[in-house]
Each structure stands twice: as C-alpha cells, then as structure tokens.
Amino acid sequence: MPEMEQRIAQWRRDLAETTGCNNEVLDELESHLREEIQQLVRTGQTEEQALALATLRLGQPSALAREFAKVAAPANWLPVRVVRFVAVVLAILIVGYLLACSQAVGLLSAAHVGAVALGYTLSLLVGSLAICYVTTRPFRDLSAGQMQELERAVFRLMATAAVLTLAGLLLGCVWAKDHLGRYWGWHPKETWGIGVLVWDLALLLLLAARTWNHRVIPLAILGNIVVAFAWFADIPHHSYGTPPLHKLQMVFGLTQLCLFGVGFLPARRRQQGSDRVARTVPPQQPN
C-alpha cells in the first residue's frame, strides 16, 4: 500500500506538471482515481493493474490540459491589468517623444529607435509579469482563469514585442545603409537585437504549444537579461554603454537569475473546500 500511495503521489505530480491544474482540480481527479482503483480491485484486479487502468481511463494529461484550458474563463489578475496600463502609457510616451524629435534626428531614425524601444519595453514588461507570477505562486496559487488571463497577456505582449523588434531591426538596417554604407555590421547592439528577437520568437513558439505554460512563463525572466544587454550594449554609435553600466548589468542579470530560481518553488495550495475536508478526514484505511 505505501508503494501504491507513492505511485499515486507521483501520478499527481506528473499531472500537475503537465496540466498546471490547481490543487482543487488535482484533489478531485485524485479522488476519482481512488474510486476507480477501489472498484477495480473489488472486481479482482491487482492494485497495480487497477492503477494502470484507472489512469488510462482518466485520460492523457496533455488532453486533460487542453480540455481544462477551454473551460477556464479568464479572470482578472491585478499585475496583468497594471502591465497593460503601463504598456499603453509607455507606448504613448515613447511615440510622442520620438515624434517630437523626429525633425531633429530624421523620421527613419526616430521610427527605428521607437520600434526597438517599444519592442524591448514590452519584452521587459513580459519579464515583469513573469516575476509577479513566480513570486506570487509560493504564497497563493493562481486560479485557472487567472492563469489563462496571464497566458493570454504574455502571448499578446510577446507577439507585439517580436513584431516591433523585427520592424526596428529592419528600419535600423535601412538607416545603416543610408548613413554607414552597409545594412548590417554585427555590432554588439545589432547582434543583441537579433538575440532579443530570437528569444521573443522562441518563447512565443513555446507558449503557442499551450502545454507546460506554467514552466514557460518563468523563462520570460531570463529574457530581461537579454533585453538589458541588448539595450545597453556598448558600441561607438551608442554612447550610453559605459563601464559602470556593465557592473549594473551583471547585478541585474544575477537578480533575474535568482528570481528565475524562485519559479522552482512549489505553489501554495489554494484555501478551498478541499483543504478544509483534507484536515478533517482521517488517514485512509487500507482496503
């Protein structure tokens, strides 16, 4: 029986990993699994056979994840709303500022800087959402609806960031041809720009797969490091990458790595009916 309990616990962990379901849903599915096992054992199956058949009847975790994702209605989560608001305000400020200086620096240059700055900013905002997610989970697990809202916001922001970054890079190529006589020079700023684009696209692909999103979203924190290096890469044409800034970049990078590590902490159980029952139910007797 202890071995059976371990196997059920392992099944539950695997299911949680794949589906990202909260503890209440897992409790319910585990309850069903136990009912099925009990019934199958009564009909003469061994416990091992009963467990194998019961898990098969419950369905593949990936299929379950897809079904549960359809059910969850998006629910408001404050960090998502704040990030959306900040994104709109920053977009207005950046576009307004660049329009004001477009006469001095040229429309092409302003458009290039604006697209890249907005693209990078949105990538950072996705990273900040990921930080909110990993730092919230150890204290309060997100509901399925909140998780869906977060996934949707992360996907949309990241898609916009990728499009803007790509547009910014292409505009930069045109500007470089006009002013430097070549489209591309593999300067750190250009190379890191490609790095941000590749990072954004990779994350989008992972999110589009719609499985393991609770593991994919924390990856966006690492994107903050890529963006920070891209933004402050030191090349002659961009004079703001000074040596002290490199130290700040390192500190920032280490901080982001630590926050990414927080993402591996287990989520706190939601205080719902299942927990109340769990405290009152005595340990299960062997069959």
Binding site: V25, E36, L58, G59, G273
Partner: protein, 114 residues
C-alpha cells in the same frame, strides 16, 4: 448483440443534458456520474473519465450547478455536485431541443415512440 460505440462528437454534444439530467435526480459526484452514464448506455457511451470534470466545472462557472466537498462512506474526500435553479431552466431548454431533434429523426426513420 451488436457492439456499437457512440461517436465522440455525439458523446460531447450529449454530455451537458446527460449530466444535468442525472443531477436532476439528486446530488452526485464525478465517478458516480460516469458509472450512471455507462449503465444507462449499457457501456456504449464511453467517456474518457477526466473529460467529465471540465464539463462539470464549466457548468458550475455558468451557474447551473454548485459543488461542495464532502466525504465518501469510506471517509475519503469527494466533491459533490447539485443542480441549481438556473440549471433546471437550462435542462428544460435542452430537453425541448433534444425532443425536437429526436422527433425529427423518428419521423424520418419511422421509429415508434415508446
């Protein structure tokens, strides 16, 4: 006896009226609901067990049913579902719609009403 399995799309379409109808008989829980459907269809209507729960959760989110955690006879925790007034109204609509469909099919196929 002809061995027949109901197609997935038909199983999916009938899931809500079946769940609501069973809950109309009284409070129940996931495992029992599946067993009841299996018994009613004499095993021809096979649900992937885990797929029932998203349906139950959606019905709960729509306000048709409500749930509570309780205990089984063996002291194991178990989530029970019960039909709400809104659910009864939704079920009445479903019944009307299914009756129209059944009536149309019966006329076409010449099946006698029970």
């Amino acid at each position: 006896m002809v061995f027949m399995k109901i197609r997935k799309d038909l199983v999916a379409a009938s899931a809500v009226p079946l769940v609501l109808s069973i809950l109309e008989e009284g409070e129940s829980y996931g495992y029992a609901l599946i067993q009841r459907v299996r018994a009613l269809s004499q095993g021809d209507m096979e649900w992937t067990d885990g797929m029932l729960y998203p349906v139950l959760h959606r019905l709960e989110a729509q306000g048709y049913i409500r749930s509570r955690w309780g205990e089984s006879e063996a002291g194991r925790k178990r989530k029970y579902y019960v039909l709400k007034t809104e659910g009864r109204k939704a079920l009445a609509e479903q019944k009307e719609q299914w009756r129209v469909v059944l009536s149309a099919l019966n006329q076409l196929w010449g099946v006698q009403h029970a």
